[in-house]
């Protein structure tokens, strides 16, 4: 299988699999037990916390373990907003128009709780409108959440600008760094963020463990109650095997980031060159400031789900923002926000390389995709209209 869907979930690293297998065989992995097994579990937990903190230049005490990226975003936005509102008068939250659905839906839920949400538009490359942001950022804004990088179009934001402006306004800043962490250097101090969501599934960690960085001194309400875990901020028994796997993947990511990123950039460049030879293909997102190994395109006059199914038959796995691939049958809001026409957005494809991608995989796409596109276009009434 030529796997080009790291952005959904990267293959779990073999050393992570081995570690987790070993841990799953152990009894009593409860870090709050005074037993020897409990102490060992506590050690795995705190080692992972250090490894994850190391990847983003945070202090271990600033990392909260959660189960998924979506939970991290929910806890970040809801916990920060509900805490900040206790000490500040305003109730406004700013998000960008191309946030992940977990941010958008959490913001909508907060609206029902009396917060008001301002959405900042983006340009055709997916870059947040700085002027609109500065105009929206008034004294009533409690919280901003702008993603570091977009999983669908690959664009990396000028996050320092947005975070600095928020701080000058005495506003808390959260970023969803899930698509970026492990692939681009993330330093929470340089970025100037108060909170950051990340997940190991992007860089070889297992499902079932993710993290939320919350800067020391920033107050956060929990989403639920019942235990002392994670200093009451995320009650519930820790998933030690998954957390340890996440930690090990983070350590591996920190050690190999330069080599991997450089390789991924090169691979993406080659892939872009090959795909640009297909007629009526448009590249989406920022051509320069983007996630390494991420190529996002729109192929006009064909539909994304049909493309994915045919690619899958040729053992190539990728992703799409077409409405047919979405359970709600709506075009990806990201593609709408960057101004793509609905009919064009149906033909979106996202290729993201993983650590295991090699040039053979790239050649495989370059050989198969043009034939698949030609076949589907031959079947498409729109292609004929376009040719007339």
């Amino acid at each position: 299988m030529s796997y080009f869907d790291r952005i959904s979930s990267a293959p779990v690293l073999p050393e992570v699999q081995n570690l987790m297998n070993d841990l799953l065989k152990l009894d009593g992995l409860n870090p709050h037990s005074p037993s020897r097994a409990g102490s060992r579990a506590k050690e795995y937990l705190e080692t992972a916390r250090e490894q994850i903190a190391g990847l983003i230049s945070a202090s271990p005490g600033e990392i909260i373990m959660v189960s998924t990226g979506t939970e991290s975003v929910n806890l970040g936005l809801t916990g920060l907003a509900k805490s900040a509102v206790r000490s500040k008068p305003g109730r406004k939250i700013i998000v960008s128009a191309i946030e992940h659905i977990s941010v958008i839906k959490t913001a909508r839920a907060l609206e029902k709780d009396g917060f008001s949400v301002i959405t900042i538009p983006v340009d055709d490359k997916g870059r947040c409108d700085k002027k609109a942001y500065m105009e929206a950022l008034d004294k009533d804004v409690l919280l901003v959440s702008i993603q570091l990088a977009n999983p669908e179009i690959g664009t990396v934001q000028d996050l320092q600008f947005f975070a600095n402006a928020a701080h000058e306004n005495n506003t808390i800043f959260h970023t969803d760094a899930i698509a970026a962490a492990g692939w681009i250097h993330v330093d929470v101090n340089k970025l100037g963020v108060d909170a950051l969501s990340l997940s190991g599934t992007q860089f070889g960690g297992p499902p079932g463990a993710a993290g939320l960085f919350v800067r020391k001194g920033v107050s956060l309400m929990p989403l639920f109650y019942g235990g002392i875990q994670e200093r009451h901020r995320r009650p519930g028994m820790e998933n030690i095997p998954a957390i340890a796997g996440f930690g090990l993947a983070a350590e591996h990511a920190a050690k190999t980031i330069e080599k991997r990123s450089e390789r991924a950039f090169r691979q993406a460049e080659v892939l872009r060159g090959k795909l640009s030879q297909i007629a009526e293909v448009h590249f989406t997102g920022d051509a320069i400031n983007r996630i390494p190994g991420h190529v996002s395109i729109i192929i006009r006059y064909v539909e994304g789900e049909a493309l994915l199914l045919m690619l899958d038959m040729k053992n190539i796995q990728a992703a799409s923002g077409s409405s047919c691939t979405a359970k709600d049958l709506k075009i990806s809001p990201v593609l709408t926000a960057i101004g793509s026409q609905h009919a064009d957005a149906q033909g979106s494809l996202v290729f993201s390389t993983s650590e295991h991608t090699n040039m053979k995989d790239i050649d495989h796409i370059a050989e198969e995709l043009p034939q698949i596109v030609a076949r589907l276009r031959e079947m498409s009434p729109l292609w004929k209209q376009q040719k007339l």
Partner: protein, 126 residues
């Protein structure tokens, strides 16, 4: 997600194409919604049997499989018989479709009926 039957028709769709001077043309859907189908039929004037049927489809796996299945079901039937084919019958012949695809992609019978009605209205004008 899809049945084997759907994948069979998707990977090897039958009767794709267009007819020269078709007796009836039917078009449903639009690319904004995700799926669009254009059906052409050739009808034997004496027997009213659909002797040939072709289509072009823009859409997902379900839309392509549905188009192929409808074309197979209608070929060789009289126009009156073909008018009794429903979208539900097409889905059944494909061993079912995912619920979210039933309304958006299961438009094959509508496209067939549109082509037949186009043929009938042209015939009545003669």
């Amino acid at each position: 997600m899809y049945s084997e039957k759907v994948m069979e028709h998707f990977s090897n769709p039958q009767n794709v194409g267009e007819l020269e001077n078709p007796d009836g043309v039917g078009e449903v859907g639009n690319p904004t919604c995700g799926d669009m189908m254009v059906f052409h039929i050739r009808v034997n004037q004496d027997t009213q049997v659909i002797e040939d049927i072709r289509y072009k489809t823009f859409g997902c796996g379900a839309a392509i499989a549905v188009s192929s299945m409808v074309s197979e079901m209608a070929k060789g039937k009289t126009v009156q018989e073909a008018l009794s084919i429903t979208n539900e019958m097409v889905a059944d012949h494909l061993d079912g479709l995912p619920p979210q695809k039933m309304h958006c992609s299961n438009l094959g019978a509508d496209a067939l009926h549109a082509a037949i009605n186009n043929y009938l209205s042209k015939k009545n004008q003669k």
